[in-house]
C-alpha cells in the first residue's frame, strides 16, 4: 500500500451533541486525487475543517504525512506543514489585486511580522505568480482588484492561491459551484493536472464533474464512511443509491 498523506483515525466531531463526524476512519494516499461525496449534512465540509485545523475533534487522531498529529496545532502551523484549503464560498481578499492575492499566498520561508515588513519583491516569485496566473487564466487581470472578478474567476483565483502555497495536500471544497459547464470542465482538467505530485481531496456535488475527475470516491453519510471505491463501485452500491444517488434521482425525476 502506498504511503498515506493524511490519516484520520476514530475522529469524532460534535456540535452541541450533534455528531458531524462519527468515529470516522479515512485515508488518502500520497499523490491521490480523492473525491468525497455525500448528502447535505454528511460531514464533508467538517472533514476538511478537521484536517485544516478549523474544527477540533473531540476524539481521534489526524496524522499528516509520516507521524505528525495535527490535532494540537493552530491553523497557520498546519498550513505551514503543507496543507492548503479552498473554501466553499470563494474566500479571497477583495480589496487587493489578483496579483497581490497570489503574492500573499505564495510559499515563503517565513511568513512572520518582521519578514513581511522587510520583504523585497523577488523576480523568481514574480515569475511563479505569472505562471500561476496563466494556469488559472487570469493573467490579463493581474492588476484588477479581486473583488471585481466574476464568481467563477474568484473560484479560480482561490485555487490559484492554494497552488501558490505549494502544499503537499490540497483540500478543495466545491470548486465548480456556480461555474458554467465549460468552466467546470476546465477546472476538472486543472485539478487533474495538479494531482500526482500533490495529493488532492475534493468535495463536490456536481456528479458530472465527479465522473470527469474521480478515480476513487468516498461516500460520507452521517459522519462516517459509507462506501469507498471507483465511481462504478460506488454507483452500484445499494446503500449509496438509497441515501444519495437514489435521492438525487428522485429529485431529478420530480422536476
Amino acid at each position: 500500500m502506498a504511503e498515506s498523506i493524511i490519516y484520520l483515525e476514530g475522529v469524532t466531531v460534535s456540535f452541541e451533541g450533534f455528531k458531524a463526524l462519527n468515529n470516522l476512519n479515512f485515508i488518502v494516499d500520497r499523490g491521490e486525487l480523492r473525491v468525497v461525496i455525500g448528502p447535505n449534512g454528511a460531514g464533508k465540509t467538517t472533514l476538511l475543517d478537521v484536517i485544516c485545523g478549523k474544527v477540533r475533534p473531540v476524539e481521534g487522531r489526524v496524522i499528516f504525512g509520516d507521524m505528525t498529529d495535527i490535532c494540537s496545532l493552530r491553523e497557520h502551523e498546519i498550513a505551514r506543514l503543507g496543507i492548503g484549503r479552498k473554501f466553499q464560498t470563494p474566500s479571497i481578499f477583495k480589496n487587493l489585486t489578483v496579483f497581490e492575492n497570489l503574492d500573499l499566498a505564495a510559499r515563503d520561508k517565513s511568513k512572520g511580522v518582521l519578514s513581511t515588513l522587510f520583504a523585497a519583491p523577488s523576480p523568481v516569485k514574480r515569475e511563479a505568480i505569472f505562471s500561476t496566473l496563466e494556469t488559472i487564466g487570469l493573467a490579463s487581470k493581474a492588476s484588477q482588484t479581486a473583488g471585481s472578478l466574476s464568481h467563477g474567476e474568484k473560484q479560480w483565483l482561490e485555487i490559484g492561491m492554494v497552488i501558490m502555497q505549494d502544499p503537499k495536500l490540497m483540500l478543495i471544497d466545491e470548486p465548480v459551484a456556480g461555474m458554467t459547464g465549460k468552466e467546470t470542465e476546465r477546472t476538472g482538467e486543472l485539478l487533474q493536472s495538479i494531482a500526482g505530485e500533490r495529493s488532492l481531496l475534493v468535495i463536490e456535488h456536481d456528479m458530472v464533474f465527479v465522473r470527469q475527475i474521480a478515480k476513487k470516491v468516498t461516500v460520507l453519510h452521517e459522519g462516517s464512511v459509507l462506501c469507498e471505491g471507483s465511481m462504478e463501485t460506488v454507483q452500484s452500491d445499494a446503500r449509496v443509491k438509497e441515501i444519495y444517488l437514489g435521492r438525487e434521482a428522485r429529485e431529478h425525476g420530480g422536476n
Binding site: 485544516c52 478549523k54 493552530r74 491553523e75 497557520h76 498550513a79 505551514r80 492548503g84 484549503r85 473554501f87 474566500s91 479571497i92 481578499f93 477583495k94 480589496n95 487587493l96 489585486t97 496579483f99 497581490e100 503574492d103 500573499l104 499566498a105 510559499r107 511568513k111 512572520g112 511580522v113 513581511t116 515588513l117 522587510f118 520583504a119 519583491p121 493581474a142 492588476s143 482588484t145 473583488g147 471585481s148 492561491m161 502555497q165
Partner: protein, 375 residues
C-alpha cells in the same frame, strides 16, 4: 505610477515647509499653540487609522494609551517643578494635600526626562501588546473587541480618579514650570514644542506609510477582508494584529507626551470613554484607510471643536454626533474619499464613476496603493 508617488512626496515636502517655516511666523502664539495640539492629536489619529482603517479593528479605547503617554510626560513635568511649587516642598502639590509624605516608587524614575519620554512611548506599546495578545489570541473580534476597549477606557479613567493621591484624581496633573530647564509657557519654548511636534508627526507619517506599503500592510488589508483565509495561508494573524495594535498604542502615547506640555494639563477627561470615541470620529471624518485622511480628520475636527466651543460651548457634542452619523451614512470614506472621488470624476468625466466599488463599503475604505504590478 512613478509621477504620482513623486507628487505625493512633493505635497508632503511643501506641507512640511509651510508648517515648519510659515506657520510659526504667520500665526499668533495662541493659534500656533492650538495647531501644535491638533498636530499632536494627528499622530494619535495615524495610529487609529493603522488599526481601524487598514486592519479593520475598531478600538474605542485609545484614550488609555494617549493617557499613558500624557501622564508619563506630566509626571516628569510635575517633578521638574521641584520645590518651586505652592508648598515649597519637593512633593507634587496634590500629593501634599492628599496627605502623602513621600514620593510613590513609580514616580521616582520620572525625575529623568530621558526615562520619562521613552516610557511615554514604550509603556503604551507594551500595554497595547499585552492587551492585544490576550484579546486577539482568544479571537475576540468586531464589535466585541470595541466594547472591551471601551471598558478599558472606563476602567482607566475610574482608576485615575479613584487614586487621587497618586494621580491627581479628577483634576489630573497640571501647573508645570519648566521642560528641560526652559520655562514652559514662554513663547520660544512653545514654538520649540510646536516644531518638535511637526517633526514627530512627519516621522510617524513616513513610518506608517512604510508599514502600509510593505507586504505587512497587504497582510493587514487581507486580515480586514478575510482573516480566516489569511490564517490558512500560514500567517499567524494574532501576531500581526498584536504588532499593529502595539504600534498604534505607541503612536497614541507619543501624541499624549506632545500634547501635555502644549496644553499644560492632562486629566481623566482627556482619556475616558467620550474622548476615546471622539478619536475614532476624527479618523472617520478624515477618511479611514488613508494616512492623509487621519491627519486631516484630527486637525479639522479639533479645529471645528475649538471654533464651536468658543461660540456655542453647549452644542459641540451634538454637532460631533451629527457629524459622525452624517459621515457614516453619506461619506463612509470621509473627506479624503470625497476628494478622491471628485478628482476621479474630474479626470475621466466620460467614464462611469467608480460607484460600484465605493457603494456599501461601510466596513472598509479603498486604500490607495502603489500596487505590486505595473499597468
Amino acid at each position: 505610477m512613478k509621477t504620482r508617488v513623486a507628487n505625493e512626496w512633493l505635497v508632503f515636502a511643501v506641507l512640511l515647509a509651510v508648517l515648519l517655516l510659515a506657520a510659526p511666523n504667520a500665526l499668533s502664539p495662541f493659534r500656533l499653540n492650538l495647531l501644535g495640539k491638533f498636530l499632536a492629536l494627528a499622530i494619535l489619529a495615524l495610529g487609529i487609522d493603522l488599526i481601524w482603517g487598514y486592519t479593520g479593528i475598531l478600538s474605542l479605547g485609545h484614550g488609555v494609551f494617549f493617557g499613558l503617554g500624557g501622564y508619563c510626560m506630566a509626571m516628569y513635568l510635575k517633578l521638574a517643578v521641584g520645590t518651586a511649587g505652592t508648598y515649597m516642598v519637593a512633593l507634587p502639590d496634590f500629593m501634599v494635600w492628599n496627605g502623602l509624605k513621600a514620593l510613590p516608587w513609580f514616580w521616582k524614575p520620572m525625575y529623568h526626562f530621558w526615562i520619562a519620554i521613552p516610557l511615554a512611548v514604550l509603556l503604551p506599546a507594551l500595554c497595547g501588546a499585552i492587551f492585544g495578545f490576550l484579546t486577539f489570541r482568544s479571537r475576540v473580534q468586531g464589535v466585541y473587541f470595541s466594547i472591551i476597549t471601551q471598558a478599558m477606557a472606563l476602567v482607566a479613567s475610574l482608576l485615575l480618579i479613584g487614586q487621587q493621591p497618586y494621580t491627581g484624581g479628577t483634576n489630573g496633573i497640571t501647573d508645570f514650570n519648566d521642560i528641560l530647564g526652559f520655562p514652559i509657557a514662554a513663547k520660544k519654548t512653545q514654538t520649540g514644542l510646536y516644531i518638535v511636534t511637526v517633526l514627530c508627526l512627519a516621522a510617524c507619517y513616513v513610518l506608517c506609510r512604510w508599514i502600509v506599503r510593505s507586504k505587512f500592510g497587504r497582510v493587514l488589508a487581507a486580515i480586514r477582508d478575510a482573516e480566516n483565509r489569511v490564517r490558512f495561508l500560514a500567517y499567524d494573524t494574532v501576531m500581526f494584529k498584536v504588532f499593529v495594535f502595539s504600534i498604534s498604542a505607541a503612536l497614541a502615547g507619543l501624541a499624549g507626551a506632545l500634547f501635555v506640555p502644549q496644553v499644560g494639563i492632562i486629566s481623566p477627561s482627556n482619556i475616558g470613554v467620550v474622548p476615546s470615541i471622539e478619536m475614532a470620529i476624527w479618523v472617520a471624518v478624515g477618511g479611514r484607510g488613508t494616512l492623509s485622511g487621519a491627519v486631516l480628520g484630527a486637525v479639522l475636527v479639533n479645529a471645528a471643536k475649538s471654533a464651536f466651543s468658543e461660540s456655542f460651548p453647549d452644542f459641540w457634542l451634538y454637532f460631533l454626533g451629527l457629524l459622525f452619523i452624517g459621515v457614516v451614512l453619506f461619506f463612509p470614506e470621509g473627506c479624503v474619499g470625497i476628494f478622491l472621488r471628485a478628482r476621479e470624476r474630474f479626470r475621466r468625466p466620460a467614464k462611469k464613476s467608480p460607484g460600484a466599488e465605493l457603494k456599501s463599503e461601510m466596513e472598509k475604505p479603498v486604500p490607495q496603493r502603489a500596487g505590486g504590478v505595473s499597468r
